[in-house]
Symmetry: C2
């Protein structure tokens, strides 16, 4: 039942041998890996303007120059990653590059930063996607948290179904969004050139902040969310068709071009149309409404925006499990993160990502503005570490090419400076949480790693002697004599010549009866009756078992428990409580083995 | 740690041999068993008046005659139980009497009815006790649900500490309450005789109902809550000192006299002082305020009332676990209800009662008026069955005494008629829930009983042959070769000459390595490598185990799992997932025994 439900939702299992065919070309690769970066067009300009407008509407003119600065950063980072892809064709991104070149700790910091940002991408993009829908259909606004949760569940299922199907699912919407954005930009420009711009209705805004350098930098920091996801391609190189680095780097270039173009386009149009950001409607929605009116074209923009944002969520669903599996193989995360499910995907990573981001969406009530200050710190930290690692990588070569060092050095310095700007301007608005969380996660990585190392040392057979076990004593716990007990005793006799039965005297009449029947049925197994003045069953048993051990009888003491397996689940409550308690009590005692002999009713 | 906390809360354990000394005399017996009945003085009159007042203030004059009728019923029921106590000196009350004389089903119905009413007694009395406090200290009103829950927890702990200490704890408050009620009644009467009654301020009440016979019967039904708890003594006879029946019946007579006197007293005073029932203050509080003014005597009445109500809760904490243990010994409830804890009390019954009544108090927001319609149906059902059973009991004697038959017959008929009145007048106000619940619980009893019977039959050794077990095959699941695996293999070799190691091939490189090292360390144990095209660990293992069984290799197949016992709880998440899954999958398969060989890290 449960299994067939699983098959309906997830489809047929895929054999390990099928893996090679699950690869992406440039077209589908762009769809799968670029949606995170491209979708930030939906909120990048808005987040800049939302900060600027607190200093009054006049400050909004700074939106376009700030966006130009951000796009310059996009180009620098894209060039840096172009070099990374070619130097690390097997993928892994910031974690691997930092770990290889800067050492384990920087690698782990990059890993923690990336994992946090993947979770935030899911939360922010889902919230923004739902905002695109509620902008077009305001009555849905009260349902936004529910819509967010349902969207994440939908993407989770799509990903559990397997990578190729993801590519197939996501190609059409990505290109639809790219097309729609170009259409919006061109139509908007045409009206500007034509002189038929209808300025949006002016609103009165009360300035609450002064237009300080700090505020401008905060606006820039918020806009830097545009860059999140740009590293997705470099993490996912192995998912591309051969030659992977070539396909991946071309995809990256396309992506950076489209991202830069549409971002500048939106910022320019927002300026030209005099958009004043509002809580109830997104900037893209206001622009589309102003350019197309409430036509089908307007709704097309909103639907395409919502879809690309849900696909951005998908990028994280590709990269979070992949990075987790790499870190798990290195022993920094629990091993089960490296297990592939029966659809060839890392199911545990997918499920954990879904769970954490759903919690975030509920806690932050599905609000993009509430989530944004947490965002981008992690990404810029990983950019900086990755580019610094690349600089180190080139320096280690015998004849390093100066332009390699220069380009990655430019990347490292510029992203490092931006990281400081983001961390300081958004610190009190939420970035502190991420700054606190990163060392906590890194500590977790270190402890997991130390644990696995310790286990490996303890378990190593190097120089180990073979343990002497011999024939061990067996005790069988009995409360009466019936078929289940006789089975258990026979089993005990089959595994050891040294079998004792133990019972606790709770009722003298019952115990006398038991002794009589015992002599008849099991004369060859000694029956030890333990006194229990305080009616506890557990204590006398544990004391007896301890005494046996002190007398040094063998390496293991096997405790056999006759256990009923009832035919209905509720019948469990009517039996076996003692067996459960005994097992729990003996679990942490060395040298004790408990065996339940099931008796099926 | 956990154990020493338990000792601080519950005190030192009591030996089984200490049981005889844990008995009650008449003075302490009255304190322990009468508080339920007596405490209804606190709300009996009020509940009658609350129904009558819906037909206008003129209808309130019917309060006194209705209470007189209820007190007549008290006398009839008390005489009936006097006879029961002497006929059944070993106690057990309605369940035993009905089962012995009318058959199992009526016995179970009586048992279910009583258990429900014990839970309701806890809920109603706690709510009324808290109402007495909030009448005197109105600012506490918003905290009433919290106060209710804390009270139940307090009484629970007192009861888990043991029976004798309960008697000691509760003697003073019971007699304090009795004295206070007599004082209130006498002071009130003195003023009436003296002519110094100050009538309470008149309030305007809008009549919402007509004064029909049905309404009068509903008022009577609500007042019948006065009788709940009157059977407590007959259930608890074995708790008295010898001669138990004499001590118990004298206690019963005292109780009925005090109950009847104070109930009539309250109803008379309410009439004489013109009390109009209100939501914000109890009737007893209004009377005490009218008679004593806001003096210390007034607060004394409120505190004594609250205390007796918390003691009423205690009566249920005596009887619910005792009845459960009797029914558990008869096989109608899970056996663990019959286990005595280390303070000689039936701890499981106490804990279940506490949990269910806390839920009720939270659901009904600690309101007496909301809970009252559920109350009394169960008690009158058990009265009727018990008295009918007594009639049958006398008829079975060779020379039945006519007055015995007559008195119990009168009891049966009158409580039966009242039962019908209560069930019909309160049906839509909540009694339906109880009427639905009783058959459900009875069905539960029957199914539990049937299960235990079935188990006893299946397990019976009558005519059974001794099972042939012989040497069973053992398989050891391994994922690599290390100290833990070697331990497990040595253990397996010690219990069987037929040991096979099983591993699943998830990574050909690893598997090849394993084969090489295996040949070196364990050349005498065959290593079977299972293919797993879909990367599942579980499925190939289970398929192999199934195949082994189909080839008919012995009665049991023992599956040995090397398991790590880490030193910190969180490290469990880093290991053993496969072992857990295998154990869960094999639990319900007959003939499979799983053994974890612990390796302590």
């Amino acid at each position: 039942m449960a299994n067939s439900l699983k098959r309906i939702i997830l489809g047929q299992p895929l054999a390990t041998a099928a893996e090679k065919h699950e690869r992406l070309g440039k077209i589908s690769g762009l769809a799968v890996f670029s949606s995170d970066a491209l979708s930030s067009v939906a909120y990048g300009t808005e987040e800049i303007l939302l900060i600027l407008v607190t200093a009054g509407t006049a400050a909004l003119t700074l939106g376009l120059p700030i966006m130009v600065g951000i796009v310059v950063l996009v180009v620098i980072v894209a060039i840096s990653y172009w070099q990374t892809i070619h130097a690390y064709p097997s993928g892994g991104g910031a974690y691997i590059v930092a770990k290889d070149n800067l050492g384990t700790l920087p690698g782990l910091i990059a890993g923690a930063a990336l994992l946090i940002d993947y979770v935030l991408t899911v939360a922010v993009s889902t919230a923004a996607g739902v905002a695109a829908i509620t902008s077009a259909f305001p009555p849905l606004y009260p349902w936004r948290v529910t819509l967010c949760v349902l969207s994440v569940i939908g993407v989770t299922i799509a990903n559990l179904r397997g990578l190729r199907e993801s590519g197939r699912l996501f190609t059409v919407p990505t290109y639809w969004f790219i097309g729609s954005m170009f259409l919006l930009t061109l139509a908007g420009l045409w009206r500007v050139v034509n002189g038929t711009v209808q300025p949006l209705p002016a609103e009165h805004v009360t300035a609450t902040n002064a237009l300080t350098i700090f505020l401008i930098l905060r606006a820039f920091s918020s806009g830097c969310a545009t860059l999140t996801g740009i590293e997705a391609v470099s993490n996912g190189i192995p998912a591309f068709r051969q030659p992977e680095p070539r396909n991946a780097s071309i995809t990256l270039a396309w992506m950076a071009g489209i991202l830069g173009g549409t971002s500048i386009g939106m910022a320019f149009l927002a300026h030209a149309y005099g958009v004043i950001p509002r809580e109830t409607e997104t900037v893209v929605s206001m622009l589309a409404r102003g350019i197309f009116g409430e036509s089908l074209l307007y709704f097309n923009i909103q639907v395409a925006t919502a879809l690309i944002l849900f696909l951005a969520v998908n990028t994280s669903f590709q990269d979070f499990p992949r990075l987790s599996s790499i870190m798990a193989k290195d022993g920094f995360m629990p091993r089960q993160m490296a297990n592939r499910g029966d659809k060839l995907v890392f199911s545990n990573g997918i499920l954990i990502l879904a769970a954490v981001s759903i919690v975030l969406l509920i806690v932050f009530q599905g609000s993009v503005n509430a989530l944004i200050p947490l965002y981008a710190v992690g990404v810029f930290l990983s950019f900086t570490l990755s580019q610094a690692g690349m600089v180190r990588h080139w320096l280690k070569e015998e004849h390093p090419a100066p332009h390699h060092i220069l380009l990655n050095g430019l990347g490292a310095v510029s992203t490092g400076v931006v990281l400081l700007v983001i961390a300081s301007t958004k610190f009190t608005h939420g970035a502190w949480m991420v700054i606190v969380l990163i060392p906590v996660i890194v500590l977790g990585f270190v402890r997991v790693h130390r644990h696995y190392q310790l286990v490996a040392e303890r378990l190593s057979l190097a120089g180990a002697a073979r343990p002497r076990i011999g024939k061990n004593p067996v005790v069988v716990l009995v409360a009466g004599i019936h078929k289940g007990v006789v089975e258990a005793l026979e089993y005990a006799k089959s595994i050891s010549p040294n079998v004792t039965a133990l019972t606790v005297d709770l009722d003298p009449t019952q115990t006398t009866k038991l002794r009589l029947r015992w002599a008849e049925w099991e004369p060859d197994v000694p029956l030890v009756v333990l006194e229990s003045p305080y009616r506890s069953i557990l204590r006398p048993l544990l004391e007896y078992i301890d005494r046996m051990e002190r007398q040094g009888e063998g390496r293991y003491l096997t405790v056999v428990l006759p256990e009923f397996i009832p035919s209905h689940w509720w019948e469990h409550f009517l039996h076996n409580q003692t067996a459960l308690l005994v097992k729990a009590a003996l679990l942490f005692k060395p040298g004790k083995v408990t065996v339940s002999i099931p008796y099926h009713l």
